[in-house]
Amino acid sequence: MDDLERVLKAHPFMADLEPDHVRFVVGCAKNVRFRGGEYLIREGDREDTLYLVRQGTVSVELRRPGGDAVCVETVGAGDVLGVSRLTPGAAHLDCRARDTVLAFALDNTCLLEKMQEDPRLGFALTMRLLERTYDRLSRARLQHLDVYK
């Protein structure tokens, strides 16, 4: 557990989080590993995990009408996946490991319980999730403008 705590707090998403809060989050976290080609998230599946990527590249993919998939973004070390789904729901895209991916998997149900238990932790994590959500929204808008057309 000490090792997990040590590496977890080194992830950018956890930066400057109070030590007590990191310990709280550790209770919801486990180390996961995906081989290249394996899916972290499948469209339509229940999305109940927040992934903090430590190593490797994940391809975020959407299937176009007609069946062929496109990669709309790649995420890597320091990034977070599953930001928009803190409450369990169906995933709207595929997230596939391009190579070996190491990540922390945070159980959303457990995380929500901890956030409700300690509102200061809740606030700190919500702010981080909002910031990541804003970043992604901002990038998606720029992408949508198709500025190089």
Binding site: E61, C71, V72, E73, T74, S138, L142, Q143, V147, Y148
Partner: protein, 277 residues
């Protein structure tokens, strides 16, 4: 004082024969003119290119200023004049006036880390600056080149990219807006590359691309502690005379052709969201 162009007058285009015309992309053509007497310019400057009988457009110089005997322009077909240029090839003639405008402040950047951020065809006006910095590599700190394009198929200057990627003394990061699954590089917008780029308020950052992309980039840089006075952008407006006389490219109190196209970001930021000034 108004400098005479290669035609002997600032108003008269000099006819120049295209020595090579190479398609970078289906709608993007790079013209090379052999200029035995040398065509001297500063990175960031542009020429007025005249498609005979059609019209004149401002096009940045995309060649190497250390090779003045070769003048290089990269042109994308977007309007009447540039579309007419797409039918030109080796042996065809274009009129050339210039060079005009301000340059990337590469001397001021000496001793500092330099970050080049290009989007799409914006790599063309930055290319002379990149080539010069890499040629005088010891004069600068760390050098990063961040390049965003629409798709893998639309990457420009592939030989340069391969060369830059192979250098140990600079860092090249490429990202595309969207890609099929067989693309092994990064996917997303160019601002995403800033996540992995060490940045410092004292860096010199040179940005060129569509105006909206440059705004997003400058905002992200500011968020990461790089102030607007450390960021330089290349502006594009409808230019006619190239001399600051006709007023077509007026941007607030400046003329893009004469006071630009290279501007310090904080000096033009309030005008970027204005459609017509």
């Amino acid at each position: 004082m108004m400098r005479p162009g290669p035609g002997g007058s600032a108003y008269v285009p000099a006819p120049m024969v295209i020595a090579r015309a190479e398609h970078e992309l289906p709608s993007v053509l790079t013209f090379t003119f052999d200029v035995p007497g040398g065509f001297h310019f500063h990175p960031g400057q542009f020429n007025m290119l005249y498609a005979i009988g059609v019209g004149e457009v401002a096009i940045s110089i995309s060649g190497d200023c250390a090779e003045p005997e070769r003048l290089v322009h990269t042109v994308r077909a977007v309007g009447t004049v540039t579309r007419a240029m797409q039918s030109l090839g080796e042996g065809s003639v274009l009129g050339v006036r210039g060079p005009y405008g301000s340059a990337w402040p590469l001397d001021d950047a000496r001793g500092r880390d330099v970050v080049f951020i290009a989007g799409g065809l914006g790599l063309a006006p930055l290319r002379p600056a990149i080539l010069r910095v890499l040629r005088r590599r010891a004069e600068y700190g760390r050098v990063a080149i961040l390049y965003g394009a629409r798709s893998p198929e639309e990457l420009l200057f592939r030989e340069d990219l391969a060369r830059w990627r192979g250098r140990l003394d600079c860092r090249l990061d490429v990202i595309v807006d969207r890609a099929s699954l067989d693309w092994l590089g990064r996917v997303g917008v160019v601002t995403k590359l800033l996540d992995d780029t060490p940045l410092d308020p004292d860096d010199a950052v040179f940005v060129c691309g569509p105006e909206v992309m440059m705004r997003f980039v400058a905002r992200e840089l500011a968020r990461r502690g790089v102030p607007g006075d450390a960021v330089w952008i290349s502006m594009e407006r409808s230019m006619r005379c190239g001399l600051g006389l006709c007023g077509h490219c007026q941007l607030g109190g400046s003329f893009v052709c004469k006071d630009g196209p290279i501007f310090r970001f904080d000096r033009v930021a309030p005008l970027l969201s204005v459609g017509e000034v």
